[in-house]
């Protein structure tokens, strides 16, 4: 299939928009009318055709614009991409994983030719045609992790596996939901999750870690996480918080549908073979509330989830001050009808919004 790539911004004038195709395939994360943490892992091995789950690394209409935004973030702050010295091999693992996966899954967009360690990578959308020597950093313009993640949507945390724990020892983090790679690099699984309320008491992280330590080559896994953002701003970093925090005060009943965005992370987990590290791609999908509610089931469900979310979670996810405004807006799209189980839009079976 041919993807029409948007030319849009994720800052300043915020021209980001989702096409009807993007809205329909959006990874709505709620399978029921309420939300609590869980170790909601499943195998990452395909999904319905055309869905965001189908390919190993999903490419969509926002690809080129996201890469442009990433380049801007890195120019302003190079510390968003760091790799501790022992993670060089893991960086090559990641480069190989992404190049092989994308050239196989999107042959019309990417090519990979390999002759021993002499590789040639073609990225047609970005106009890249590059020959280099695998495992030789001198033949790439950046380290391998930075090189390939400048061409791949989503953030990447590369985790060293040691001492029955995972250590965030490398990453490319420019679309994060308010955490700092520069601060967290070197921390282990429990430490970098330390600020998350309630989850530790529920043993969510202990069980998640056990699972992740045993993710094996050839058997990747995935799960969804979510939060909310004002404006389609990808770079909601702590570093820039003084710049974007103020946007939370700009919501009004008139603009909340267009400005408030649901932000969903499709998190995947791949074992990296040569280094035995684990890569944790965090792919961010944004959608304006007014587009979410265009799917009747999602409109009903989102209202109920946000209305009933525990205050600790709404605070941690950064929208507590605007919750009343958001809930009030969403209530217009909740006619009280029951909703089907699962995350899919179910447009054929779920009735349209019944006006009161």
């Amino acid at each position: 299939m041919t993807i029409q790539f948007n030319d849009e911004t994720f800052r300043g004038d915020y021209t980001f928009r989702n096409s009807p195709w993007a809205i329909k395939r959006f990874p709505f994360p709620f399978h029921e009318d309420s939300y609590m943490y869980s170790v909601n892992m499943e195998r990452h091995r395909g999904g319905p055709k055309g869905s965001v789950y189908e390919k190993r690394f999903d490419v969509d209409e926002h690809y080129l614009s996201e890469m442009k935004d990433r380049a801007l973030v890195l120019a302003e702050d190079p510390l968003r991409c760091q790799s501790l010295p022992h993670m060089a091999l893991a960086g090559w693992d990641l480069l190989e994983l992404i190049m092989v996966s994308k050239s196989e899954d999107y042959p019309e967009l990417f090519d990979l030719h390999r002759n021993g360690n002499s590789w040639r990578w073609v990225n047609r959308p970005m106009g890249i045609d590059h020959s280099f020597t695998f495992l030789d950093e001198a033949t790439l313009p950046y380290g391998p992790m930075e090189y390939i993640t400048r061409q791949t949507q989503g953030d990447f945390a590369v985790l060293d596996q040691r001492d029955d724990n995972l250590w965030m020892d490398a990453g490319m983090v420019t679309t994060q939901a308010d955490w700092s790679l520069d601060f967290d690099i070197g921390m282990n699984f429990f430490e970098w999750h330390a600020p998350v309320p309630l989850a530790h008491e529920l043993n969510v992280f202990k069980r998640a870690l056990k699972f992740l330590l045993n993710v094996q080559q050839g058997s990747p896994a995935r799960r969804l996480n979510w939060t909310m953002t004002v404006n389609p701003l990808l770079d909601t970093s702590p570093e820039n918080y003084p710049k974007w925090g103020i946007q939370k005060t700009e919501l009004t009943p008139g603009n909340v549908g267009a400005k408030q965005h649901l932000r969903v992370e499709l998190q995947t987990f791949f074992r990296l073979p040569r280094s035995n590290a684990l890569v944790f791609p965090i792919r961010c999908y944004l959608i304006a509330l007014q587009d979410v509610v265009s799917v009747p089931k999602w409109g009903r469900r989102l209202h109920r989830v946000i209305r009933d979310l525990p205050v600790e979670l709404a605070t941690y996810k950064g929208f507590i001050r605007n919750r009343p405004l958001i809930v009030s807006y969403l209530s217009q799209f909740d006619d009280g009808l029951p909703t089907s189980d699962g995350i899919w839009p179910d447009l054929e079976s779920e009735p349209p919004l019944q006006k009161a």
Binding site: H86, R162, L213, N214, Q216, S219, P273
Partner: protein, 321 residues
Amino acid sequence: MSAGTEKIDIIVSDIVKVNDLVTRFEFRRADGGLLPTFSGGAHTVVEMKDGEITRLNPYSLMSDPMDQTAYTISVRRDDAGRGGSLFMHHKVKKGDRMVISYPVNLFSLDLRARKHLMLAGGIGITPFLAQIKQLARSNGKFELHYACRTPALGSYVDELTAAYPNAVHVYFDDQQQVIDLDHLLDGQPLGTHVYVCGPKGMIEWVRKTAAALGWPREAIHYEEFLVPQSGKPFEVYLKRSGLRIRVGEHESLLEAIERAGVEAPYLCRGGACGQCETDVIEYEGEFVHRDHWLEPAERASGRKIMPCVSRFEGRTLVLDR
């Protein structure tokens, strides 16, 4: 998640008798494609169909991790064992088709180490062969101390000493040569990691000596393939499957569950990785916990068992499988 990992169909492309006890096997993909690459220290689980019995044994990959055309393993014949090594030595022929797992690494190098100090006993040399090839390519610093029974039984001694004359030291039991462990561990630069693979006694000795000399726990790595020990037969009811099974004297609980056609998750099959952890619904008797995974409180609770290596003695055992 399904049992174990992804599987690969392979053909036994070469069999070489290394010495009286050890035979080397080479595997290539049956479809002629490339094998997955791996990290030094990884093993593969080989499926052996021995008549009615299916055995699954882990073997360290000794080949170069960068070589994706073939894997090699070395199997030490154990006449007193449960039959896996005997099957490999006597029943497997060149050209046979077999099934192996994707590589799994439970004994990986700590790539932050300033120096990798390797201690091998007997067939424990195998994971180091792959790790040394990996380190040599990346200019990593390593030193190997390898204890063998006799020169005749010193698998790969010649190959190693020829390739790395300054980094490899060999000790033959029959010449009363013993690794001077205290001396060896004393004076290693800060940031050295020690890795030991060999018989249980050797592993205990290294761990205790290093701890007594003040080495931090995180700098000591070991791999021991716990072979499931035999024990009295016992009966188990698998509640979810509705099956009553009998665990024989020479098979593990996990093997009995698999023999009954019930899928149970596993990974290392040696009591170390936690994947086969099984919930106990009901029991009347005593557990024989032989794993390295459960916490003492979990063992005492009677609510969990690791079927790959642990057993049970008593009247009733009901499992959630």
